[in-house]
């Protein structure tokens, strides 16, 4: 690890925190459900990056493992929430009958 990059890494971590805070605006005020899901997914990606940089700042390489775990869990959570809101159930097999999902009303938020 380079010793002279500590303050630069700290500034980058702070920048990512500010970016996450801006993304909360779309999460709280998104007009549709899918806007909120997109904001949550992007927020999770930024969390992974923040964990990676913060490990360099504090000088302990353990947190990158948590970042790997969070990257996988973020993807699975997004897919699970999408499937739940499409079918209103989680035990639906996606392999058999390719019938389209029941369409939601237009003003679904």
């Amino acid at each position: 690890m380079l010793e002279g990059m500590g303050y630069f890494n700290l500034a980058a971590a702070f920048f990512i925190l500010v970016s996450m805070g801006l993304m909360l605006g779309r999460l709280l005020g998104g007009p549709t459900l899918y806007d909120r899901l997109l904001a949550v997914n992007s927020f999770g990606t930024k969390t992974v990056l923040f964990l990676c940089i913060f490990c360099f700042v504090i000088g302990r390489p353990d947190g990158v493992d948590i970042a790997i775990l969070y990257a996988l869990m973020n993807f699975i959570a997004t897919i699970a929430v999408l499937k739940f809101f499409a079918y209103r159930a989680l035990d639906v097999s996606l392999l058999g009958d390719p019938s389209p999902a029941p369409s939601l009303p237009e003003d679904q938020t």
Binding site: M23, R26, I68, T78, E106
Partner: protein, 146 residues
């Protein structure tokens, strides 16, 4: 083998370096690593901020997806590349490579899944020329123009 040669040359240069203002070989390598890592992280942060502002400001869901996908791929990969250059050859580089691989695999897939779910649920995109929201209407409605 090339890397081992460079490292041996660097060690030799350190042992024979006179104490002076002239840069030896390892210092030049150190400076190059700082430069490459800093440039990659800075460009990655630019893409991160651009994607965030796009998700905040663009008018439609299907246009916001574009900005979010840019954040998930290019910004994240560039920041992780900068961290990899900083960490050198260690165990941490392999872990960062895993994180970059998973993000590259899952980011576009998740974005596509969100777009596909919105399309199948009947969310209509805004078509036609873009019209900026009227300032008087926003002021009467009492909402900031987010």
């Amino acid at each position: 083998m090339i890397i081992a040669t460079i490292m041996m040359a660097g060690a030799e240069a350190t042992s024979h370096a006179p104490a002076g203002i002239t840069l030896n070989f390892t210092q030049i390598l150190y400076g190059l690593r700082v430069l490459i890592a800093g440039a990659a992280i800075l460009v990655g942060l630019f893409f991160l901020l651009a994607g965030t502002l796009g998700v905040l400001r663009l008018p439609d869901f299907y246009t916001r997806i574009h900005a979010a996908g840019m954040t998930d791929t290019l910004g994240a990969e560039l920041i992780l590349l900068g961290l990899m250059v900083q960490s050198g050859f260690s165990q941490m580089t392999l872990k960062l490579l895993f994180v970059a691989f998973f993000l590259l695999l899952t980011g576009p897939t998740a974005t596509h899944a969100v777009a596909n779910a919105a399309y199948r649920a009947g969310l209509k995109p805004q078509l036609g020329p873009y019209r900026a929201p009227d300032v008087d209407t926003i002021r009467k409605a009492g909402r900031p123009g987010l």
